[in-house]
Symmetry: C2
Subunit: 155 residues, 2 copies
Amino acid sequence: MSDSNPAGLIFSLFNEIGIINQLSTARFAKVLAPDLNPSEFGVLNHFVRLGDAKSPSYLAKAFQMTKPSMTAILGKLERKRYVEIVGSVEDRRRKIVTLTDAGRAARDRGIASMAPLAAIIMEHQDLGELEKILPTLQALREFLDAERNAVDGLT
Amino acid sequence: MSDSNPAGLIFSLFNEIGIINQLSTARFAKVLAPDLNPSEFGVLNHFVRLGDAKSPSYLAKAFQMTKPSMTAILGKLERKRYVEIVGSVEDRRRKIVTLTDAGRAARDRGIASMAPLAAIIMEHQDLGELEKILPTLQALREFLDAERNAVDGLT
DNA sequence: TAATATTAGTTAGATAACTAACAATAATGG
DNA sequence: CCATTATTGTTAGTTATCTAACTAATATTA
């Protein structure tokens, strides 16, 4: 597995990242269930951290997701009364999504339910190491994103 | 986004990893298509690198995947004549999957088609940095895997 | 200003993963 | 040695994502 050639390194890297993503998403999904899945939680959390009253299109871009996927997620959140969706008056193509009190409460429950898992990871993994790799991952993500947009763009 | 509290760090980390996984998988899928998807390529590549004549169950574990998912992937590879699947005589529950010559050729084409993308990444990202973060990611992956098995195990 | 292009969101259909439940076989232990 | 348990792989059904194609509204341009 310890590939010494550069392409092998990149391949190993994406391989590890893929497995971590799968394992971590599955774990988060389990502790969040049955109220929310990770995508729905992510939207509620974004609203709490960065403010609500965003358009579906903005959210799709923020989460690196296609518009139809965001439509589906927002539809589920709306049915649960965790968000409200109204048409914009300035631009009647647009919709505006806002968080409800129930949505904020659901997000807080989500945070609480994930805390033990985060604690376990903090206990057994070197936080300093994890902090050190974050900038490299961010740079890689930004590069892939820019490169993708250069080729085709997210429709 | 630069969370200073530990739980926020972990959340940011998994967030970056999730986006990188999505972007990189989509890119690899695009260059591999239409012959193979990344999962199918992964199985062929595993055979070339680590030897074939594995059981579906072994492969499912190796790829952190459920057995039904591996059944589906192997079915597609078998229909393309890239692998052969025969029953084991020693243990008649088991099947044994082997790579065909066509499968090896398909894997080689896959490697060739991914080379330009790997080259672009190598050109624009600091390979030394990427190499440095790999052990940390491996440790995190191993921890999540062990932790998962401690709780329930992959069915 | 009318025609064209772009943007926002939705609908329809495909795909690839998952869980649950099952049949067939092998291993274990009273 | 037989009954129970575990393992291997499949089938059936669900889910979350995607792409393609569409409508409606706005912006651009000839």
